[in-house]
Subunit: 464 residues, 2 copies
């Protein structure tokens, strides 16, 4: 009798159950220890999955799509006002996530829109701004419809300056606003005088000085910065300390030599040095332009956008064009600032899940063990999160590597069929906004998309 | 019968042997798999160890000494010429490691001294410099005798500028030169025209501009920078990319606003941005001032300096004053640049092992898995190196933490009695210099001190 068989008979049995709990309950009644696995049968019908997987284009389409995303070469080429570069007109505001109306908008989204109205001098008081917004006096549209992304509320107005990121491989361009820092900031729904004053300085000084330095520097290879930062403890969504440092040191000499006053340059350097999240925004634009290059491959089940507006979580899939698959945004689970707690948290918000879409952020948590001090959990959880994401992705990045996993490439390219088959949902690192407009940031944590949106995407691929 | 006892009888035996190989050989002849452990009986007599360990002062002395080292608060307070700040006179040169003469000096040490002669205009040609040096026309002394440290050859001449680092807790001060970058540089024994030209620029521009920025900034908490860098993939000896980035971003606005020309400031920023090892030197001074605070505690077996001059490896121990215990420096094992190979390598050289003395460098390799691409080996080796060092150290740092080890403090404070009892030698990350003077850097790798110096220190403690 082999050792293994022998052990089966002589040792205590260890039982693992999955699915319906009948067996687990029966064993528990007999005092047998049971490990229950949280697995549920796929929400999509097996027939729909079979149609998508049986599509003769499917495998090739996914390879094409994910290879496009992975071979993108995003470069920061300019910094320009949204009005100029997106053709955004006065009275139009972009926002994070799938399209939403004022009526369905959550607190922080409303707060950010109120702040943007004040910033653009479209209202004199928050009350007046709210009234105008409620009366439908402005146009709202999703950032993603304009090749743009914005963290948290992601509100973009014409006077805000945007990072301009070009993909030198496939030719696309994407945009992201400039990062304001943490705490009471517009993107977390705050709109007090200090928020508006900071936005004015960003448009008057930060944007133009950044532009001058970036143009003087020439195109900056953001993929190279991101690849390095992943070897320096960042995961590039909630931890951007290394990338921000590399970005600043790379640009510092051009800042010094650009056409701006010494005091403005010093103020810009202090501002960036004071904000470890500064690189989040150019990084998001890099992820956006990479993911956009993988759009519209017929038959592909690759996710090309994940985005939240604070009410809905939406995804877009390569093989289904611009259609959004949406479900209710969940509330992140994590750590809170100061006296805030779970009751203060707004549901998940922001376009920053474009980082996970492109194979970093929560998918690269193993690169950033120190992040558990910011989002909660223990170090092994960070490693486990990355390992789990290999189950639902199509490829491993060649550029983005995780040293602690012996330089394995990050899990990249979410496949909706894999999500549906495994029941494993993408893990997203995220900031948490207070649900009351004007509050600002209250914490950071982890969140998953609603399961239905992946099933809906499979259904659309099957029937489309 | 318990499961464990049962297993002992029913499963294949697993044999681990240590010491003399008689048992292992006998088992191997019987086809029994054997795991041999590389353990040798201590080189020191058990009686000497017993005397040191039995010294009633020993435990308290070690606690006092290591706590002093761990509670030091090194701050960068100034940058000044060695002539001024060390009172170094023309014709005197400091060097790395224990004291050495020209006759016994290795190639890179000779090369660096030749370069320093040219830099100080004490000779017109390398040949003339060599002649003067061989004739004993200059004074040589160990950096460590002047509260100073220097990486690799560590040659310091009066016109070189030094980082001035003060320990705000215990009041000590330490000094380290400015880092030249990699490749053909003085500290690796190169002395060509480009080396001398760079040194002149460093004295004329880099030093004064750094001084102006540091004075404008005010004392910089180096321990905080180092603690952050350890969470960003540095181990602070052979990988200083994060620390250099943090240092530069912290100082950038003061550089911009200091009294210097725009072009000099931009050049300094480009130079620092171009050299990921720039922080090594202020970091070494921080380690030196911390280790110095633990000196001269009677009965303590704590190592307060490890240093190599390219010929000898020397240590100093808290309880034995300024006495050096020396043995032959080994040749590092690692990765080579370009076409260089093991035959080109000089024995271990430099004061940079002060980082390992203070609980970082090789001792913090688990923080820096990406370093295996620079020094060789696999990622698990980096984790194993740090774990092994807990066996020979007195404490775990509270400031310096390793995220991947769930924020465990780095192994800190080498105890010569632990080294002798376990036979485990300190692991040191190091650069490799070409053994022919003038070559420069040829690679990077790992090295250990000779075992005898720890035994000699125990003997001295026992008899002292």
């Amino acid at each position: 009798m082999s050792d293994r068989l022998h052990g089966l008979l002589t040792r205590e049995p260890r039982v693992v159950t999955a699915g319906a709990s009948v067996l687990a309950e029966a064993l528990t009644r007999q005092a047998v220890p049971v490990q229950e696995v949280d697995w549920r049968p796929p929400a999509t019908s097996a027939a729909e999955l079979a149609v998508v997987l049986g599509d003769p284009r499917h495998a090739t389409a996914n390879t094409t799509a994910v290879q496009r995303m992975l071979t993108a070469r995003p470069h920061l080429v300019d910094v320009r006002p949204a009005g100029e570069v997106l053709g955004l007109e006065r009275g139009t505001f972009l926002h994070a996530g799938p399209p939403i109306t004022w009526e369905r908008a959550s607190g922080p989204m409303r707060g950010a829109l109120i702040g943007a109205m004040l910033f653009e001098d479209l209202a004199d008081t928050p009350e007046q701004a709210e009234k105008l917004l409620a009366a439908g006096g402005v146009r709202l549209d999703s950032c993603h419809h304009h090749h743009a992304v914005g963290p948290m509320a992601g509100v973009v107005s014409p006077s805000m300056w945007m990072f301009v990121v070009r993909d030198f491989e496939h030719g696309g361009t994407a945009y992201c606003s400039l990062n304001e820092g943490l705490g009471k900031v517009l993107r977390y729904g705050a709109y007090g005088p200090e928020v508006i004053e900071r936005l004015r300085w960003m448009s008057a000084v930060l944007g133009p000085v950044m532009q001058a330095a970036v143009l003087r520097h020439g195109p900056m290879d953001l993929k190279a910065v991101m690849a390095q930062a992943l070897q320096m403890g960042d995961e590039l969504h909630n931890r951007n300390r290394a990338a921000t440092s590399l970005f600043l040191r790379e640009l510092a000499s051009d800042l010094v030599e650009c056409e701006a006053s010494q005091s403005d340059i010093a103020e810009v350097l202090r501002f960036v040095n004071g904000n470890d999240h500064f690189f989040l925004n150019p990084g998001m634009a890099a992820c956006k332009v990479s993911a956009d290059s993988a759009r519209d491959v017929p038959g592909s089940s690759l996710v090309v956008a994940m985005a939240r507006n604070g009410t809905d979580f939406g995804i877009q899939v390569s093989g289904t064009g611009d259609r959004w698959f949406t479900g209710p945004a969940g509330v992140p689970d994590g750590l809170y600032l100061g006296a805030f707690g779970p009751d203060d948290a707004n549901p998940d918000i922001g376009d920053s899940a474009i980082t996970e879409t492109a194979g970093v952020g929560g998918f690269a948590m193993a690169s950033a063990p120190a992040i558990v001090r910011f989002v909660g959990g223990e170090v092994p959880d960070a490693l486990a999160a990355t390992r789990r994401m290999y189950e639902i992705t199509l490829a491993e990045s060649s550029a983005f590597q995780v040293p602690i996993l012996s330089f394995r490439g990050t899990p990249s390219g979410i496949d909706v069929t894999k999500v549906v088959r495994t029941g494993i949902l993408p893990v997203i690192n995220t900031g948490m906004a207070g649900k009351v407009p004007g509050t600002g940031q209250i914490g950071a944590g982890l969140v998953s998309p609603p399961a239905n949106i992946f099933a809906d995407a499979v259904q659309a691929l099957a029937t489309g």
